[in-house]
Symmetry: C2
């Protein structure tokens, strides 16, 4: 059950001011502390350095970008967790500079961040994950970074969740977090996540970073299994503009202090945990889309009846990434031709004779031709801020839901009118 | 040598009025006549029915959309030329209604167009190609269509090229044609092409159609080889917004009346012919991009050093389809981070350490990091209307050039503000 989250419904048309809150989230699971401070990487003077750490070592699972051009912090995380999982103490994150395309010197900077943080936490550099977000192609100002790490380390506590979240944001306009609690094996288990997303107002920002903490007891390897499975159906299903960032990182840390019997892959408890993780990831992923550049509407494209889940994903993402479709949604136009076109151009098998397309629950295309439909009702649905598109391919049992936003003039303004 | 073409350099910033011209193009090769008339399919009352035909049967090669949702005219062309080539008399084309997603009744309409035209030309329906462009999901108004075919057939001549071209246009803002002449085996051979493109101001338009005529003597099978090879490096390299239309059709008709000895695949003459065809296709493809929705700049992305030509194409198109990159070009921002990101996310092998990126001939990224470069000179280049981006992957000999336009607020306005 979700007990705290970025309040989606109320916010899509809210003002773009950052909403300050003092709700605890990332340190709500037992065994974690955090801090967020300003150290001058951001010219704006806003928070730009965060540490989130277990009070002792924690199980960790990390998934990173599939982009072949990836940041030096990503390279560093892969070097200390070559399988994607293991035991760590915590993670240090800065915003304002992504440390991407900075070469071997940039890698040394990432490692220095880990070393500095490890010293303050009484551990070694191979136990500290690193993530950076911000402009691509610039070296980190290491003197400021070092001062920031020292400052953050001195402030670690359970009362800094908001300051911590602010410190990982760049041009995000809203705090994005989610908290889920569930009873596993008779014990209350808490999962909490924060995310920074796709508010890339200044160009060249390397984007998504998410940290999720939990007090569940679970081995690193089993944690990794759950993370990969659930990231595939949540974070990997969202798209603002089809551009996979060079810094995408999702780190999940498990302290094991909830008192539950360790969760084993394949068990009923594992399913429960994975389902709670999916809820947290799903909320964070939706929050990222809602805070997408120029977004005014959240659009879910549910593809069913594909030959496989993988083909359903390909078809759903083809629609979600179609600029013509996204413009039609922005304009509130029930334009099924663009949906059929985007499905048909995808690598997924599509047979127009078996295809069904619906908007807002109303079928508008079936068996090769458009249907007579209640245009007023569909247009009414499209005037809302949460749009549902259903595509049944009629070929099998594969299903996938992609989530995207509309394409507005504001997106172009954000990405064209500001200069590097 | 190109002897006539849509004058690219002068037009990119010209007014959006259609430029009327009386230059001959599509009937310049020996043995062809054409006509274009208005029959009332378009509400605007503009030309909407065209016939382009040999005076006798001609060799034909046709390539059509790879979209799995395709128009009934495409289905009809495939039914009469299952291999993509053969002997035909000519082609009938209407604009204003694409006859896509209209089911078996739509297929019968396409066949009726062929039958009507064949009767007027004194041949059979299986010798007449059909293409339609315009709104998706509507049946053709067959009474108007029949009257239009009769009218056009009665006006076939060598003096109607402009009327013919106007009749295949929808919301194109400019006439797009190209004429190339070359001496093959001691004989002057002429190739002429017209194209309608991506001015999809009303939503749901099924877009690109191109017809190329030539008087070269060449068998249908060899003509098809040349057409497939050259379409791959020209039409298949352009993208306005990554949305492959349901009606894309390129038909090449060869009358064989130039007096040359028949061109055989693999010969020096074949290479010459293919090269001339590439010139015509290339000009038409560039013209389509320049007339792209909201386009203010033509952008060539030349990828070299890929492991294969296929991987070079994947990498080049990933950049050409990146909304972030296209916005940066629109804003004149020398933002190499977005180019590196788009290359890296593609399915082509990319190694940042071997990657070189240049804009306007100036290297701005090499071996994993950004280079110091003359920002003023690059910005000056980006202020122009023809932008050159070079990406050398440093991994092999594969090369491909993709051509696209920038992404402007006007694109969103065109595609969101008008309703179906």
């Amino acid at each position: 059950m979700i007990i705290g989250r970025f309040p989606i419904a109320g916010l899509i048309n809210a003002s773009k001011d950052i909403l300050m809150s003092t709700i605890r989230h990332i340190t709500l699971p037992v065994g974690f502390v955090s801090a967020g401070v300003k150290c001058g990487i951001k010219a704006s003077g806003r928070n730009d350095m965060a540490i989130i750490t277990g009070e002792a070592d924690v199980a960790a699972a990390v998934v990173t970008t599939s982009n072949q051009v990836f940041g030096e912090p990503v390279r560093y995380c892969r070097s200390i967790l070559p399988k994607g999982y293991g035991t760590v103490r915590g993670i240090v994150i800065n915003s304002g500079c992504s440390n991407v395309c900075t070469g071997p010197a940039g890698f040394r900077d990432a490692k220095t961040m880990a070393t500095m943080t490890a010293k303050k936490l009484g551990t070694t550099a191979d136990k500290v994950l690193v993530a950076s977000t911000g402009i691509i192609g610039h070296r980190l100002p290491m003197e400021k970074v070092k001062a920031g790490i020292a400052d953050a380390a001195s402030k670690l506590s359970r009362n800094n969740d908001t300051e911590t979240l602010l410190a990982i944001m760049t041009t995000d306009t809203r705090e994005k977090y989610a908290v889920v609690q569930t009873v596993i094996g008779g014990k209350m288990v808490t999962l909490a996540g924060i995310v920074k997303g796709a508010g890339m107002i200044a160009p060249s920002l390397a984007t998504m970073i998410s940290v999720v903490t939990t007090d569940a007891a679970i081995s690193p390897a089993d944690l990794y299994k759950a993370v990969v499975a659930e990231a595939t159906v949540t974070f990997n299903g969202i798209t603002i503009d089809s551009d996979t960032s060079t810094s995408d990182t999702v780190a999940v840390l498990a302290s094991g202090l909830a008192g539950n019997k360790p969760i084993k892959a394949g068990s009923a408890e594992f399913k429960q945990f994975a389902s709670a993780l999916q809820e947290v990831f799903g909320e964070l992923a939706r929050a990222v889309v809602i805070d997408g550049e120029g977004a005014t509407k959240l659009v879910e494209i549910a593809v069913t009846g594909a030959r496989s889940d993988a083909e359903a994903a390909v078809a759903a993402k083809s629609v979600a990434n179609s600029p013509l479709f996204k413009c039609a949604i922005h304009g509130g136009d029930p334009n099924w031709g663009r949906i059929a076109c985007a499905l048909g151009k995808s690598a997924a098998k599509v047979d127009p004779e078996k295809l069904m397309i619906g908007i807002g629950g109303i079928t508008i295309f079936a068996r090769g031709t458009g249907k007579k439909f209640n245009v007023k009702r569909v247009e009414e649905h499209l005037k809302g801020t949460s749009i549902q598109v259903d595509c049944d391919l009629g070929l099998g049992k594969g299903r996938f839901t992609a989530i995207t936003c509309d394409l507005s003039k504001e997106y172009v303004a954000i990405n064209a009118d500001y200069s590097t």
